[in-house]
Amino acid sequence: MAHFTKATSVKDWLNQRLAVEKVEKVMMSEYWIPKNINFLWAMGMVLVVTFALLVVSGIFLLMYYVPTTADAFYSVNYTIMREVDFGWLWRHVHGVAASVVFLIIYIHMFTGIYYGSYKKGREMIWISGMLLFVAFSAEAFSGYMLPWGQMSYWAGMVITNLFSGGSLHADGLVEWIRGDYVPAQAFLGRFFMLHVLLLPLAIMGLIGLHFGALRIPHVNNQDGEEIDFDAEAKKYLDGDKAGSKVMRFANDFMSKDMMVVGVYLIFFFYLVFYNYGFAMDPVNFDPADGLKTPAHIYPEWYFLWSYEILRPFSIDLGLILFAFAQVIFVLLPFLDRSPNTVPANRRGLFAIWFWVMLANMIVLTAMGKLPPEEPFSTIGFYSAIIFVAQWLLLPIITMFEKKV
């Protein structure tokens, strides 16, 4: 056993047993962040805060929600919304956060793509981030089932049908996933379990991996500059704070981070109190009915771009392209053949690639929301083709990129 001495203070007592000072240094005061960054570097903390809001509001919803097909709808729309004091607050925080979290994830993702933060040693940051995106998508989808309204039911029907694999007709697999021929009690029960236990556990684990992946390569910076973190940290600790290219994570970086979080939270609670409607689909205020499809089924806005890639094609091709769209972002570090870790605006053709990708995904999102009629179907069709073509072109245009 290690040697313990009589503690001189509470802190010393804890230090001897838990090395709290060492932990504080490793996690906060001597975790180094580059100085040349901008507000987009705060999105990680904004996501942490949003996830915390989801967990806390979810805990309160969980106490009154009843996961049965007979009672789910009323436990949400009557018990939680009408009877529970401030039940509406938890529901609206949960709904708005579930939508806004994807907006921030997309900003976080495109920031990473723009600044090349997935390259040269940062591949695992990117991959763990994309796994988080997948886990959040599954979490959002499973949560969307729980109010057991018309959109819940029909989104559940359509998405689980994707697993039949088109012409493969894996209907047995679809029935296995549902536990029934159609979404019913077995389906609601298992998606409830996934939403409140298994997927949140997976998300927390992946967040740990995502943070861990940052430790060795460190956070990227605005110029993609390769910083010698040990040398710069020494400079900082020796007193040359102004000359050093790095700063402490806490309190230096955190203070600005939390400033952005503060602005974000004002925007967030403005939505929660005055503009929550966008996160609450009116169709889902009708109880689930297996014999009546709503006139127009569409997913939440954050899934629209990939939904639109599915829509204009025959089922097999649609499913293949849809699967392609789901996984292709994970492969970005390997499809980008250029050695340059610099912002996109200094990378020639890649700059065009980046802005076309961003604009095209916005077009796909808009077309996915519109009914499947002309001219939207045609625009969606060409946008989907551009999306796929861009990914096929990426290795070629980056291979010929000049070294900056």
Partner: protein, 176 residues
């Protein structure tokens, strides 16, 4: 050397035990997600086929799924003439002709709406269309409506039981 081989043996022995346990528990987990016997046994629906009116689409329910029943008029039958795919799907009960199908789009399972004026089905989800015989008019659906297992019993139709007419359709690839 002796020690390490002993450790190696223990490692392999544990691996074997854990492997058997892992496979067994995966099997149990898989089976726990299977549809329950009560769900599977949920039955057979019997329809009285004399109550339907021509060109009025009625939705019945079988195993939680909507079943389209459309009694075809002479005009529709005239249009179908010569179209082998449409004729093969026709279900004749007494003197009446029916289109009976699972009312789920074969694309991703939305319920297409019957448009009385056009006499066809339109799926709101992805714009797929089906004609009055249940054949695809417009993609993305990969095939016509699926036909549920049925048995004709006089003027009655039993959904869920396999009769000779259904078996012929299935064998000829008319339905899945």
């Amino acid at each position: 050397m002796k020690n390490s081989s002993r450790r190696g043996f223990m490692g392999k022995a544990f691996g074997a035990v854990a492997g058997v346990g892992a496979v067994a528990s995966l099997y149990a987990m898989k089976k726990s997600w299977d549809p329950l016997p009560s769900v599977k046994a949920a039955g057979f629906t019997t329809l009285d086929m004399t109550i339907y009116e021509e060109n009025v689409m009625v939705t019945e329910k079988w195993r939680g799924k909507p079943i389209f029943v459309l009694k075809k008029s002479a005009a529709v039958m005239e249009k179908e003439k010569g179209n082998a795919a449409a004729e093969a799907r026709n279900i004749k009960i007494g003197d009446d002709n029916f289109m009976i199908a699972i009312g789920l789009c074969t694309h991703l399972g939305c319920i297409p709406a019957f448009r009385e004026d056009e006499g066809n089905f339109l799926c709101a989800c992805h714009g797929g269309m089906f004609d009055a015989s249940g054949l695809v008019l417009k993609v993305p659906p990969p095939r016509g409506f699926d036909i549920p297992p049925f048995k004709i019993d006089g003027n009655k139709l039993i959904l869920g039981e396999v009769g000779p007419e259904y078996k012929t359709m299935k064998d000829n690839g008319v339905t899945l």
